[in-house]
Amino acid sequence: MTILKTDKLKSYYILETLGKKQYVKAVDGVEMDIKENEIYGIAGESGCGKTTLIKTLFGMVEPPLTIVEGTVYYKINEKFINIFSLEKKDMRKIRWEYISYIPQGSMSVLNPVTKIIHSFEDFLKAHKKIKSKEEIRKPVEEHLMALGLPTKVLDSYPHQLSGGMRQRVTVALATIMQPKIIIADEPTTALDVVMQRGVIQLLKDIQSKQKNTIIIVTHDMGIHANVADRIGIMYAGKIIEEADTLEIFENPLHPYTKYLIGSLPQIGDKSYRISAPGTPPSLMNPPKGCRFYPRCERAMKECIEKIPKLIEIRPNHKVACFLYSEEMEE
């Protein structure tokens, strides 16, 4: 059962200097189909367009970011709705109540000069008709207790909490309206291992209680291995491989995915590992054919000119590479 889908989505940053337009092709023809109640992981290097993709999925498209082609559909009341055709006020209603977003870097989410409870107040007042402060405090406390967070954080300022606690408060804030879809952008980056574990534990708890769909973006394959049901590998604005988590780890097909999986060190194994050679391409001026060919050791002639298409070559396993199929994008 699909809950969110995109249709050849292209969202570019259009920069104009002295009348000359430049395009940063951050999301370049992405087709996604997210199922109800699944945890979908998006993996890729920094600067591959992950954050732009989820901003677009969340409908946060403001210049210079522009939708060039395609659109995003949410399934609301059994109907697919094109979110970019909605009025601003309808979109505002959907946001947080239907779909919510956990941004990266919790320090900049919570207002540093007010207590945490005020952030919750601001948030709830915008969505519910609430008059007194007491009316707010009770459901917030219940929500925090259900998530196993101490309620005393409500009377603290953000700087008094540790990074991990702040991030968990942000997660609590994003899920208080019980949204159907949660988008988490690098929720564990900049936290140490124990705190990462805490945040992921919390997200999984929420998912098992509220039965929501989670789209989690991170470059940490360890996190994906632990939480995601399905993974999409993103490279230079495109999804280049997509499969169930176990399949991605055990049987990666795309040369880039192979590097990504093969370079992960593991305790108990000291054998030599290498990362992909070279550096990620610039999205302003990506290679003409397959985006990965300059770094690929199996690059062929057609890779230079033509762009491989993401196609299903095995049940539930899609890959965009000429090694497996000759189909290309127009």
Binding site: L191, V193, M195, H219, N226, P265, S275, A276
Partner: protein, 320 residues
């Protein structure tokens, strides 16, 4: 024969926190001792707020130690006042920092950093300078031509981090102090940095003090490891024995919390998250008592001594 190049004895750092009315002493680093041998990668691991960065800053001389001593190549460097000696020490011990985008000034060309280091430490003069820089870049797999004339924004994080390793290598140091060198680098490029440390150790006999919270790369690269928790080294020994068969309950939890890149080894246990850092620092006995599954009455009251267990040291009453 002893071939330790750096020896740290009972190193302590006390910060005073609070205002004028309620002063508290926070022992950020509590009698930490370890030694690093030649051509050895030594890892200090622990979560944030465990004091591992404070240890490295004391070794580098950025902050003064409150107690204990640091012995480098047989000489105490705890309080070098002499400028010449200081320079010599700095030439031999170089640092690599966490965030490569902050290491380099965005408005200056990166090559300046390389040439300036060569000039400040009088490694070469005139035309020979190019040669020194070229050699250092070569060790990290970069060409001088790739770097010349470029600003930090023109490189990826992984490349910049490699350049900062190259900069550190210009003085031909015996010890590199690398504070979380890969945590800001993409997972896909991480191994290029970590492999560099392995290569430097094997080919150039450089020792590395590797500070990290990532146990997987620590296992991959290091010979010995010390696990820190709230200012104490709670377990120290060979990396294989400590990480494959951890003895201290904290090391076990740290290993358990790691997200292993293997979907077949998903987390199944739940973990306890601690009080705030400050509360744990101010605890009387074992700092881990609040979260430890095996906590005993003795742990909460008494300071824990080090216990020797085979080839390692464990700070836990379970092994009395």
């Amino acid at each position: 024969m002893k071939n330790d190049i750096l020896k740290v004895n009972n190193l302590t750092k006390i910060f005073r926190i609070g205002n004028i009315f309620s002063r508290q002493r926070l022992v950020a680093v509590d009698k930490v001792s370890f030694e690093i041998n030649q051509a050895e990668v030594f890892t200090l691991a622990g979560e944030s707020g465990s004091g591992k960065t404070t240890v490295s800053r004391m070794i580098l001389g950025f902050i003064e130690a409150s107690g204990g001593e640091i012995i480098y190549k047989g000489k105490s460097i705890t309080n070098i006042k002499n400028r010449k000696e200081r320079m010599e020490f700095m030439k031999d011990v170089q640092a690599i920092f966490q965030n490569p985008f902050e290491t380099f000034n965005p408005l200056r060309k990166v090559e300046n950093y390389l040439y300036e280091t060569a000039k400040n430490y009088e490694m070469a003069q005139g035309k020979e300078m190019d040669e020194v820089v070229r050699e250092a870049l070569d060790a990290v797999g970069l060409q001088l031509e790739d770097v010349r004339g470029k600003y930090p924004s023109e490189f990826s994080g992984g490349q910049l981090q490699r350049i900062s390793v190259a900069r550190a290598l210009i003085t031909k140091p015996s010890l590199l102090v690398a504070d979380e060198p890969v945590s800001m680098v993409d997972a896909s490029l991480r191994m290029s940095i970590v492999n560099l440390f392995r290569k430097l150790k094997e080919e150039h006999k450089v020792s590395v003090l590797y500070i990290t919270h990532d146990l997987a790369t620590a296992y991959y690269v290091s010979d010995k490891i010390a696990i820190m928790f709230r200012g104490n080294v709670v377990e120290m020994g060979n990396v294989e024995s400590v990480l494959l068969d951890p003895k201290h309950p904290y090391t076990m939890m740290l290993k358990e919390s790691m997200a292993e890149a293997d979907p077949k080894k998903k987390w199944n246990k739940r973990i306890e998250l601690g009080l705030t850092e400050r509360e744990e620092y101010l605890m009387k006995g074992c700092k881990f008592a609040g979260r430890c599954p095996n906590v005993m009455a003795i742990c909460r009251e008494n300071e824990v001594p080090d216990f020797k267990l085979d080839d390692r040291i464990v700070k836990c009453f379970l092994y009395k």
